[in-house]
Amino acid sequence: MEVDYSGDVMTLNMGPQHPSTHGVLRLELKTDGEIVADAIPHIGYLHRCFEKHVENVDYAGVVPYTDRMDYCAAMNMELGYVLAVEKLLGIQVNNRVRCIRIIMAELDRIASHLIAAGTYGNDIGSFTPFLWCFRDRETILDLFEETCGARLLYNYNWIGGLMFDVKPGFEKKVIEFVDYFEPQVENLNTILSDNYIFIKRTASVGILSPEVAISYGVTGPNLRGSGVKFDVRKDEPYLGYQDIDFEIAVGTGEHGPLGSCWDRYMVRIREVKESCKIIRQAVAQMTPGDVRESVPKRIKPPAGEVYMRTECPRGELGYYIVSDGGPKPYRLKVKSPCFTVMSAFREVSRGSMIADIVAILGSFDIVLGEIDR
């Protein structure tokens, strides 16, 4: 390996094991002093051959595997897969399952955004919001554990229904949590989002212009941070989102150019408030019914293919399933939102400083389990 001493460009390996790479990611930084000339991401350290595994596990057994992809928002990952197979099988679920799925997905979105906001504070240097966010997230995890028994990887959404029905009094606890949680977001705002040092560190850093974002296929909060109003729940409503009214939080570029790290972060905080609104309406729409009503005994979908996309907290998650009529999926391709955002990272982070590399990476809120699958 010849080493080129071509001047003062130093390659610094922000290696797979680094406190702020949100997982096992290696960034090869070509630095000139503090300025980073080029940041080449190397992924694949957490590749667990999800798509190969899935080819010899039956349809119902794939659900625990989909949890393992984006372990911070497992409920939404399951939901995407389950909706895709239901579309393939042509199953319609009753209203109760629909509402419980919306509540669980939105609670999971809040939990995932709390991780994003907490770790982002950590990356910028303020350690306290991390602990506050995780304290609030614990209440959500308790709700999940009480309903389906697991705290992180649930396997709660089944094809055609749910594993268990929610316990009586679950709705009251959810409303209690939402009422307690909404003012807590203000706390987070005062210490982090409106803090002048935080604004100076993030407001003019990592500008992702709308054209570059669309061309790189960036979706979700990262795209909405650049001002593009695009949300799968509004764009192509699934699961009954059409009769729930909520706004799409879009970056406004208050503190500096549009599409900066601060906008992406602020979109997530506003989205959490929207999720609270959605949960309240979904709880109101709940009707009694049997949750395992339309779970098929043998899952053997007809030969064919389907592409289904859902809005997971990190972006637009797409499942492309090809089935050959057998009990096992013939091919399952997952379109992971973090994978596309990571491909845009190199262009966004050119010419920024080392401290900004960490800020940009944190604002993208990536999970390496989903990138490497």
Binding site: E51, R309, K333
Partner: protein
């Protein structure tokens, strides 16, 4: 525009290159001539009535007799989606890259190369993305035998 109109527009514009199209399937698609992917993609992207600016998914599928690359395209303006499929022989699958139209294709094509061995001509840096760089074989092919050891470490 409904998938039927898109299929009709495509067959009318490109005629011979569109081998087969199923606009009323659950996921409306049409199979195209592998060599013509760049022109058709260019047309789909720049045509005002289509303006497919969001390449959602670019994935390889290994049917035992052929290898297929699937392009799922979506238009943010008109909110419609369409899928293109290129069918290639299993031995030396090769395609032109669409990286110039949608930069998202860069990493997706690298993954297709890594998993299926599909060579994309004109790609900026075509190398393996998920597996280690010196990994032999293409894992997602149906006839793939996983090696017992990798650099004499048991796999």
């Amino acid at each position: 525009m409904t998938p039927q109109e898109i299929a009709a527009l495509l067959t009318e514009k490109f005629g011979s290159w569109i081998l087969e199209s199923k606009p009323d399937a659950m996921n409306p698609w049409s199979a195209i001539e592998p060599g013509a992917i760049l022109e058709i993609a260019q047309f789909l992207r720049t045509e005002e009535s289509l303006s497919m600016d969001h390449l959602e998914l670019l994935g390889g599928v290994d049917y035992k007799d052929r290898i297929e690359v699937v392009y799922v395209l979506y238009s943010m303006k008109h909110r419609h989606r369409y899928t293109l499929k290129c069918r290639m022989p299993r031995e030396a699958p090769a395609l032109q890259t669409v990286e110039s139209l949608w930069s998202v294709a860069n990493w997706h094509e690298r993954e297709a190369y890594d998993m299926f061995g599909i060579v994309f001509e004109g790609h900026s840096d075509l190398r393996r993305i998920l597996c280690p760089d010196d990994w032999e074989g293409y894992p997602l092919r149906k006839d793939y035998k996983s090696p017992k050891t990798y650099r004499d470490m048991p796999v």
